[in-house]
Symmetry: C2
Subunit: 157 residues, 2 copies
């Protein structure tokens, strides 16, 4: 599945605070906003533009969880290619503004902190800030997440 991926595989030793990645872009359609909302967040302002006009959002807006999911897609495809995969233990998520139909999203990832696990010295915990921007380069979402990252073949020995 990753045969053609040109990105180097990264272990804990390869990550340092300050490293950044920038993703490709993704265009958000009203149909996708509505389809996601039907399955996962069926509230009027995520389902129908007319209903959304009278809401907090003032027009159709993507579910925040849809923005998070699209962010993950951009991050998987264009963020760090971590050995064993991008595996999050949790994090802090904030929605600065809604994602709208027609928005063109991209994400930047920045390593904030790298530390070896105390309980499992064969792995580490990496704090990464993922910022999702729209086409006006406005921030729509930030996630500060903790990723579980293995040490390299020579690590921990």
């Amino acid at each position: 599945m990753e045969i053609d991926d040109p990105r180097p595989v990264l272990y804990l030793e390869d990550l340092t605070a300050g490293q950044t990645w920038e993703s490709a872009t993704l265009t958000v359609s009203a149909d996708e906003i509505i389809a996601f909302a039907r399955d996962y967040d069926p509230q009027p302002f995520h389902l129908d533009d007319a209903a959304a006009r009278d809401s907090f959002f003032g027009g159709l807006a993507a579910s925040g969880w849809h923005t998070a999911a699209m962010t993950m897609r951009l991050q998987v495809d264009g963020g760090p290619r971590i050995a064993g995969g991008q595996i999050g233990a949790g994090g802090r998520i904030d929605w600065a503004r809604p994602t709208r139909p027609g928005d063109i999203l991209h994400v930047t990832c920045e390593i904030i902190e790298v530390r070896i696990s105390r309980s499992r010295p064969d792995r580490g915990l990496v704090t990464m800030l993922t910022t999702t921007h729209n086409q006006a380069d406005e921030v729509v979402q930030t996630i500060t997440a903790t990723l579980v990252v293995p040490r390299g073949p020579g690590g921990g020995t």
Copy 2:
């Protein structure tokens, strides 16, 4: 859209710390895990059981963002029916264990804090803890989120 909803509509004044709600249940299928992952988190351990066996997860596991999305669905349908909708500004999310094919999820919502907005006295900020459990009543995910909630027709006057 909400015509047949028997739940009372809640304003800021109706919410107090300690109130709880319990959702219905939702059964997770392997097909849904894979379909979500194809769109939003295409990593081998979310796409293919055989590939997942050799991964951190040891078997097919839902994307954490899929767990978050399913949690939102249960919360919209069975959590507090807040005037104007459940509108989150952000929060803290933690995945305690993976969601697996066949898992039967339900969520509990608990109000943690209620406060009036300083900048917008017509609304308040409510901290709610949403815990997602599986059929063994193990916690798979917790979210502590800040919701934007309007004051009632008589509020703020």
